[in-house]
């Protein structure tokens, strides 16, 4: 058992589950999407990305790429949220909520790919 794999697996799966938790619900209803969850998703995804830094294997490079995509989407989502609530102060209107949730949905897709890759890697290693 490789502790590095355990830790990374934990964080990438956690990123997916949290993201899923944030994503489900009516897309336009701000009550179904809590900002705490978005925060947790961002933090866990950051950690998962950093864990793949300096991994020279092919799989490591692809996982780093998918994690970076997820981070990019999530940062975009938080920026939208921040602009709406604090800068323009229009608040979480249905349009804003929808765009935040759809961006996080994109991040979730990247997380799903990461998890699939992780599963493939695990299955390929017959030990």
């Amino acid at each position: 058992m490789n502790p590095e794999k355990v830790v990374f697996g934990f964080f990438i799966v956690l990123a997916l589950t949290l993201n899923f938790g944030f994503f489900v619900g009516e897309i336009e209803n701000p009550n179904h999407h809590h900002v705490y969850e978005l925060f947790a998703v961002v933090v866990v995804n950051l950690i998962a990305t950093i864990l793949k830094f300096g991994d020279r294997s092919q799989m490591g490079a692809v996982l780093l790429a998918t994690s970076l995509v997820a981070i990019l989407q999530l940062v975009a989502a938080t920026l939208v949220w921040m602009t709406a609530v604090h800068i323009t102060q229009i608040g979480l209107t249905p349009t804003v909520t929808a765009s935040i949730v759809s961006l996080s949905g994109g991040a979730m897709l990247a997380n799903v790919i990461s998890v699939i890759l992780l599963i493939i890697e695990t299955v390929m290693m017959r030990r």
Partner: protein, 566 residues
Amino acid sequence: MDNIVYLIFRRMRRPLITLVLVYALSILGLVLIPGQDDAGNPWHMDFFHAFYFVSYMSTTIGFGEIPYAFNDAQRLWVTVSMYAGVIAWLYAIGTILALVQDKTFQRAIEESRLAKQIRSLKEPFFLVCGYGETGSALVKGLTEAGQHAVVIEINEQRSNAIRLESLRDYVPTLHGDAQKPVLLQEAGLQHPLCQAVVAVTNDNKANLKIAITSKLLHPDIRVICRADSRDIEKNMASFGTDFIIDPFDTFANYLSIAIKAPCLYLLQSWLFSGAEHALLHDPIYPPKQKHWIICGYGRFGKALYERLKKSDIEVIVIEATPEITGEPPEGVVRGRGTEANTLLQAKAESASGLIAGTDDDANNLSIVVTARELNPNLFFILRQNHSDNSAIINAVNADMVMQPSKIIAGKINARLTTPMLSEFMSMANKQENEWACELVSRISALVGHRAPLIEEINIDCSHASAVYEILNQGGRVILKDLLRHPWKRRVNLKIIALMIKRQNQNILLPGDDTELEIHDRILFCAENHSLSRLYWNLQNENILSYARLGRVEKHGWLWSKFSKKT
């Protein structure tokens, strides 16, 4: 470059994760702890403000509490977060600083920088493996001849020492084991401009490995190797090593030439002296009437023994441990030769020459000093193993000093910078002693007592454009034209043409009226100033026409138009 990025990222994982966790916890704490706004209403900080606050908190501390003054619970949490944040930042920055100072990291940077430099080399260069005594003499000679070199050296002290030496050219030096193919590739083995690989480490096996690697990875490349034993030599030759030098055999060969034809030896030592402005040797005359004594029957002693025997000279060998080294058919005198009675047993008082050829400089010196007391008229040959000992070796004033590193460096140098010189020498060796004596006196008339410059010139459009132009138009240039003074054509330059090489013939000492052809290669032996004047004749059409005809024939484009019309 990849290496460095990976190294940084790998090392930065832990500090970055710590930083993310500390930030996340601090932000979360600030968001969760209930506060009050300025009107006293219950209020929760949102993520945006929490992130803003935490960001400046741990980097600057003391920006004030925003947007509303904190209550005690918030202050408690901020206190904890402050310490955690500062520690996390120190940890991250400290790791980066430690990484920058790290030896492996520095070496990775250095290596990638050198590899990049070598990849971008735009001029032909030689790859020299091993920067010991031989390597340093070789690199010095190469850079002085205007060539470029790349060095691989296993010993870090010596590879650093190269920067302190005042070489004429910048020599990229990789530190590492040249036996590793990766390092050879990094040093430019497969670079299209890499002219030759020279393996002159002090380890025979390493030289062999370098030769094999080079021939496998770059089959067309010239490989030049030092070999100290016959087995290795044969092994190297078996896969096409182009030039193998055994310093002992080479010196033995010199000695037999010196015995047979002293002038030929003198000619050789002058032409191969390598270093510019070196003082020329006086002629030596090794005697051959009576017997010679060889102290030490190692590789050097054996090589000399064979050569002396071939020259019909009687030899007595002194050896301390014949069971290890073997012994010649006549047997040996047991001993080191440093004590008088061994030398007396070898009949030193009636001998004509003595070779102090052990691998220990102190013993060799002692042998010479002791023997000189017994018989001051002996002809002494001294083997010098370390160049550091030059001062004491010179003080003994032996007739010939054999220094392996110098011999190898000189031979390789000549082979790399002036390949025609070796061909010239092998043709000269077939000539009589008188022929060599005449040439030697001509050279000494040219250059006095300083070593002559040896230069190979190719008659083509880039190296001798003026000559090329005339020959191309069907004109005729004879050797004498080139050797006239560019401003005073009745004065001859102090230059001798040693050899002209054409497609299928080599002309030894071509006469003054030899007609030149395109793509001739000419080997000149010249005095320093004359050589630069020779270049005027070769490159400048007006000057060449003055040297040939005594008048300037060709003019600029405008002038020739003008003069045609009138």
